[in-house]
Each structure stands twice: as C-alpha cells, then as structure tokens.
C-alpha cells in the first residue's frame, strides 16, 4: 500500500503526519518505507533521524555532441522544445539546466553524433530509521527541475507493506510526480482561508489524477468552520483532526516525533492509518 501525504499550502503538517504514520505502521510488525519526495526542502530526516547506507547522484540525461561527426544540420535544435540545444553555425550549444532529458536530439541526429550523459541535478540517499526504510532526495541548489530527482527517489524505494510518500507543497509537476502511482492521497490542511483555498486546488488536482483521497485537518480548532463545511458539502472524508496544541508545535520545532514525546496522540495516527487501509482494500 502506497500512501502519499500532500497539501496545497505549505507548512500544514505533511511531514508530521507522514513521519508519525510511518512510526505507528512500523510498530505492528509490518515493513514500512518512508519516502521523502520534497527534494527541494526535505525535512523527514530531521524527525526520523535515519542512518544512510548509500548516496547516489541522479539527474537528467543530456546530450553530448561529437563535433567530428556533427554535420550542423540543425535538426537537434528543431526537435528540442526547451531551447536546450541550439545549432549555431559551426558549433552546437547545450544548456544543461534547460534540458528535460527527452532524448529527442539523439534520436533525430542523422549523423549519430549525439550521445547522452548524466547531468547531475541531485542525489538520492537510502537508509533506515530503526525498522523504517528511509529514502530521500536532494535537489542540488541552483537546479530548477525537480521531477527527475523525485522519480529517482521513488525508484530507489525498497518494497514494503506500507510506503508513505511525503510530497512537496503546491499543485504542479513536483507534486504530481510524487503522487503518481500511489493508492491513496492524504491531503493535510488547516482551517484558515489560505488553507482552504489551497486545499480546493489540491482536491481539483487529485480529482484530475483520479486517485482516492481524504483530508486531515491540522490545528482544527484554530481558524473557522469553512474547511469542515467544504469537506461535508463535497463529500470528502475527514480522516483525522489534530488540535492546535502548542506542545505539538514545540516538539516539532525541536525535531521530535509526536508519537514518542506526546504518546496521547499515537491513537490519532493509528486510527488515521486504519481508516486509509480500510479505504484502500
């Protein structure tokens, strides 16, 4: 079972929910993997404190031109939709940071002058946090395109009974890459106008992907009732409500697991996981 934890708005508690669900899932003997797909700003390691067994560079396959074979026909520049390869007179210019790695240029080149080489845009680290398998990725600072790193994180994930994917905030390509192929998406929100607006965007996105989903309302007693009413109106299941408890915020600030330092909340995550499991099966 693959569960993605996402949100439109940032800072609603994705990582808190994802790490604590991984924790409670690992307590009853099943194999669990926590997969941090927020490769721009990964934080899961702060809470699960994994030991890494391996680190591998990942990235995009970019073209490399053998000038001795190149006939300067310009077809590579024509097929490229991203202006990442440009044939200019007697030379071919390559812009690695614009390349999406589609391979079109090497396929189209009639002189077979183009091969592909890895352009490192990030790295993937695999390890474990006690009984929990742990994988995360780090986009290199200055690189713009994160989906290939996210894809590599997912590929590197060991098989497990329960896989929990911690997605980045937002609703565009990095989120879509993270939640693709998951069995269930959990949207974490907070009951404020910003939280609700971004939840609506996230719901539209998940509906477009045709994935089953449910909502967690974090700090449910903080704002107004609009988020609750929206979910009721749209028939969206609210699978957990977490109170606005300063001791949770303080534990979070120190990088502590809620289930460990505030055991009264364990039951919230156990019940949440149980509800998702019954919906998936």
């Amino acid at each position: 079972m693959k569960i993605a934890v996402a949100s439109g708005k940032g800072g609603t508690g994705k990582t808190t929910v994802a790490t604590n669900m991984a924790y409670v899932a690992s307590c009853n003997g099943r194999s669990v993997a926590y997969v941090d797909c927020d490769v721009e700003e990964p934080n899961g390691h702060i809470f699960l404190k994994p030991q890494f067994d391996s680190t591998a560079p990942v990235g995009t396959l970019i073209p490399k031109v053998d000038e001795s074979k190149c006939t300067h026909c310009g077809q590579c520049g024509e097929i490229c939709q991203y202006s990442a390869i440009v044939s200019a007179g007697e030379t071919v210019l390559i812009f690695p940071e614009l390349c999406h790695g589609c391979g079109g240029c090497s396929l189209v080149c009639p002189a077979e002058a183009i091969t592909e080489v890895l352009h490192e845009t990030g790295k993937v680290q695999v390890g474990s946090a006690g009984p929990i398998g742990f994988v995360h990725g780090l986009l290199n600072v200055g690189q713009a395109i994160s989906p290939p790193v996210i894809k590599a994180v997912k590929t590197a994930t060991p098989l497990a009974d329960v896989m929990i994917v911690d997605a980045p905030p937002g609703t565009s390509c990095p989120v879509i890459e993270s939640v693709r192929g998951c069995d269930f998406v959990l949207l974490v929100t907070e009951p404020t106008p910003f939280g609700l607006n971004d939840l609506k965007l996230a719901v539209e996105m998940i509906r477009e992907l045709k994935l089953p989903f449910g909502v967690v309302i974090n700090r449910y007693d903080l704002g107004d009732r609009e988020t609750l009413l929206y979910c009721q109106r749209k028939g969206i299941g609210i699978l957990a409500e977490i109170p606005d408890d300063r001791s949770i915020a303080e534990a979070y600030s120190r990088g502590e697991m809620i289930c460990e330092v505030l055991p009264k909340y364990r039951q919230v995550f156990e019940s949440l996981l149980g509800k998702i499991e019954s919906r998936v099966s």
Binding site: E40, N43, H100, A144, I145, I176, P193, N197, R246, R254
Partner: protein, 319 residues
C-alpha cells in the same frame, strides 16, 4: 524600480501574511503574487480584475486514435511514461495508444517520430494571468491550470507584467510573494531581483530549509534578509537562526511573534497591520522599516529607487 521578493524555503512560515502587511504599509508599490500554483494573496487584497490574459507554457501531444496503427514506437521512445496502450480501437486495430496529458512533458518526440502522423502536437493554454486593482495598489497575479506545469514561465510572465504596470503608473517598488522550495518557480521569481527577504520560523525544519534557500540566493548573488516569524515558539532555535544567518552573511531584519491575530486577520480578509493594533503590528512595522531602508541602500535598476511609505520610522536596528 526595485523588486523585493519574499520567499521562505519551508512552506507555511507566513510569507503571504507578511507580504499583505507590507502591501498595506508600502505606498506606490505593485504587488505580484508569484506563488502561481497555490496563490493566496488575493484572499486578503480582494483584487478587482481589470486586465487578463491566457498563458501557454508549452505544447502537448495527443494521439488521434483513428490514425493510430498501434505500432508502439511512441510508447517505446517516450521518456516520461506518458503513453498507454489502452486507447479506443479503430477499423484497423482493436486497441490504440493514448497519451496521459498529465504525464506528458510536452517534448514532442512521439509526434516527430510517428510514421502515421497520428499524433497532434500543439500549444496548450495552461494558466491565466490578471492585472487587478486593490486597496493597496495594483496587483499582478495568476492561476496555473489544474495539474499543469511550467510554473516558472508563468512566474516570469507575472514579473514582466508587474514591471510594465510599475512603469506605466510610475511606481518604483514591486513587492513579490514567492513560493516555497528552491526549484523552478522560486528561481524564476528571484533571478535578477534586487532584494530577497526569507521568512523563516524557529524550528529545526525552518533552520534546515533556510540554509538551502540562502545557498540559492547566494548562487544568484542576491542580497538576502531574514525575518524570524513566530520567533517565540522556540527562542533557542530563533537565536541559532540568528547565529547561522550571521555566518552566512545574511541580515536578520526582524523577529515577529506568534500571534492568533494572524489567523484572525486572515479570516477577516485583512492584513495583520490593518486588523491588529498591538505588539505584533509594531514588530511588522519595524521589519518593514528595516527592509525598506535596505532597499533604499541597494542600487536600483532605474531612478533613485526612493519610494515613500506611510510609515516613516527610523532606520531600524537590524541593519
């Protein structure tokens, strides 16, 4: 004209609430919401749209099932796992190939190599942008279509339009609300800007993410200030952030307390400085005064970069 970009690394640290307050404090500013895939500034500023345009970030491929001979070439060469063998049949074959529009990266390689010319490849509209009037001045904003990509291009478009508005209306500050992270939309929002303010929070996650976002602004050579929002949630980590900021050559321009007034203001669709009147307001005003002073000290792209504000307080202690 100068561009100030407010970003955070970590999401949910309070960027938009800070920007909304700055919008109320700054005069003669254009507001630009560059968090195009989860825009929220409009919820506070209640924009009245006066101009709008469609955004096309690229093209997308679509198989015309009537022409498909199910040769499988497209699926074989697609690097994005976007092609499935589950399209409708036609007179020639029982099943055809189909492109998942969400998985399609818009590279066009399938269309180029399809021997039957069965694949259409054409520009698509994947967002919309707006110029609006608000009680705090003109605002440029956008909405990326559902499950769309190329948010970086849309961010660049918003910035270009904001510059045009600033020139036309003779305004000399563009106040940009950025997005979380360090990837494509963030890079598009900060590249070439005059000043970045990073809004962080006193948590280990906030500290970790601040380091990455500070490396990013350094990479692009942009002067960077830091605001520690909700600082009293963990004063020890707030101090750690100040130490780290100092080591990274970043200036901490203000601390803002944790206050329920931020949420209450949001519910009333007001900025914090419009809604509240006590401690947190003076902290935000002091932050703005420090940021404004730093902006004045930066060499602008045009003119002397001198823009008046309603708050004429002294040069703050953070700078």
């Amino acid at each position: 004209m100068k561009e100030l970009v407010v970003i955070s690394g970590k999401g949910g640290t309070g960027k938009t609430s800070i920007v909304a307050s700055f919008a109320a404090l700054a005069e003669k500013a254009v507001l630009a919401d560059c968090d195009v895939d989860a825009a929220d500034l409009h919820l506070v500023l209640d924009p009245k749209i006066v101009e709008r345009g469609k955004f096309s970030g690229g093209s997308r491929a679509r198989i015309q099932s009537g022409h498909c001979t199910a040769c499988g070439k497209c699926e074989e060469i697609c690097r994005f796992d976007a092609i499935y063998f589950d399209g409708p049949g036609n007179g020639k074959v029982a099943k055809t190939y189909r492109i998942d529009p969400i998985g399609c990266e818009g590279c066009g390689v399938c269309a180029w190599f399809c021997e039957e010319n069965a694949i259409k490849f054409a520009p698509v509209v994947n967002g919309e942008w707006f110029i609006s009037d608000t009680r705090c001045g003109p605002m440029v904003h956008a909405a990326l279509g559902v499950a769309e990509e190329n948010s970086g291009k849309l961010v660049s478009l918003v910035r270009t339009e904001a510059k045009r508005v600033a020139e036309n209306r003779k305004l000399d500050l563009i106040l940009i609300d950025g997005s979380p992270g360090i990837g494509c939309p963030v890079i598009a929002s900060i590249a070439g800007a005059d000043l970045v303010l990073v809004v962080t929070e006193p948590t280990l996650s906030g500290l970790h993410d601040l380091q990455r976002v500070a490396d990013l602004t350094k990479h692009f050579g942009i002067v960077t200030l830091v605001c520690i929002n909700k600082w009293d949630l963990n004063p020890d980590i707030a101090s750690q952030i100040e130490t780290q900021a100092f080591q990274h050559d970043l200036k901490v321009s203000g601390r803002v307390r944790y206050d329920h007034a931020v949420t209450e203001a949001q519910i009333k669709r007001l900025s914090v400085v419009e809604y509240a009147s006590d401690g947190i307001v003076s902290e935000i005003k002091e932050l703005w005064s420090n940021v404004r002073a730093r902006l004045n000290a930066e060499k602008g792209q045009a003119g002397n970069g001198d823009f008046p504000t309603r708050d004429s307080r002294r040069f703050g202690k953070g700078d």
